[in-house]
Symmetry: C2
Subunit: 196 residues, 2 copies
Amino acid sequence: MPKISEEQRERRREEILAAARRCFATHGYEGATVVRLERETGLSRGAIFNYFPSKDELFLALAERDADRLSRLWADEGLEAVIRAFVGEDPAWLGAYLEVGRRLRTDAAFHERWKRRAPEAEDRIKERLESALAAGEIRDDIALESVGRFVGVVLDGLALRLAAGFPSPDAAELIALVESAIGGPARTRTPRRTSA
Amino acid sequence: MPKISEEQRERRREEILAAARRCFATHGYEGATVVRLERETGLSRGAIFNYFPSKDELFLALAERDADRLSRLWADEGLEAVIRAFVGEDPAWLGAYLEVGRRLRTDAAFHERWKRRAPEAEDRIKERLESALAAGEIRDDIALESVGRFVGVVLDGLALRLAAGFPSPDAAELIALVESAIGGPARTRTPRRTSA
C-alpha cells in the first residue's frame, strides 16, 4: 500500500464517514451491508476497515460526531438551538439511529461501547446544566441528572417521531413546553419580596 | 375445517394475540418470522391467517390494543397513570414497536394503515385534554393539539430509552416535569386577585 500523508488520511476518513452516513440513511443500519458501503464509498472493504475496524465502529464514529456537535451547540447556543437542529435533521438518518435501539438492549458489549461513545459531550452538557442551575435558569427541586435525562427523553421522542415520518411538533412550541418543564425560579416563578 | 362457536373463535383470537406479542418481544418485528409465529402460537400459518390476514395486521392489532388500553387509562386515571404504565412496560415489546419506525417512514401504505389504527383512542385522549383545558388544568397559550403532541413525544422518548435498556427516568420526577410543561393557570400560576 502506498504511504499517504496524515492530511490525506484525514481527508479519506472524512470521505468514508460522509459516504457511510448516506448509506446508513438510505438503507438503514441493517441494510447498510459491507457491499453497499463499498459501493457508496468507492473503496474496498479492506480500505474502509483500515480506517474503521468494523461496521459498528463506523456507525459509532458517526454517532460520536453527532453527540459532539449537538453538545457543542447546547453549550454554545442553548437548548433551543439543539431542538431546532433536531427538527432539521435528516429523518432517514434518524431512522438508522433508531434501529440500533434493539441492538443496544440485546447486545451488552455494544451497549457498553455505546455508553462510552462521547464522554466529552456528556461532560459538556453537564457543565452547561450546572451553570444554568447556578444562574437560576433551571429548577432546583429536581435532581440535575433527572432534568438532563428528561431533555434526553424529549429529544429521543422527537427523533422517533421524525424518523417515522410524523409531522414534527412546532419547534417554538416545543421549546416553550420544555422550558416550562425545566425552567427555574428566575424564569417561571414570581420573585420573592425582599425583607426591605 | 370444523365449525367453532363465536366464543371459541374469540378465545382463539386472544391466544394468537398473546403468543404473537411474546414472539415479537423475543425476536423483534423483523425476527418474528411466520415459522416462529407458528411455533409460538402452536398453530399453522393457515390457522393464524384465518384470524389475521398478515403479519402486519397481527402486529397492528396488538398496537391497536395498546393504544386503546393506554387511552382508557389516560381518560380514567390521568397522565400520571399512563407514564407509570409505560415505565412498567416490557422493554422487549417496546423494542419491537420501535422497529416499525423505519417501516412507517419508508412504506406509505403501512404509514396510512398505522395512522388509522385506533381512532377511538385518539378521540378519547382529545376529549380528556379538552376537559382538562376547560378545568384550567392545561395551559391555554399553546394549541391543545401541540400539547397532546408534546406528551406523545415524551412517551415515545420514554419507550425508546426503555427499549434500549437505559435506566428509566424516575416516574414521579417525570410526571412533575411533564405537569410543569403542560400545566395550566389553575395549577402553576399565582391566582389572580378578585376585584373584591
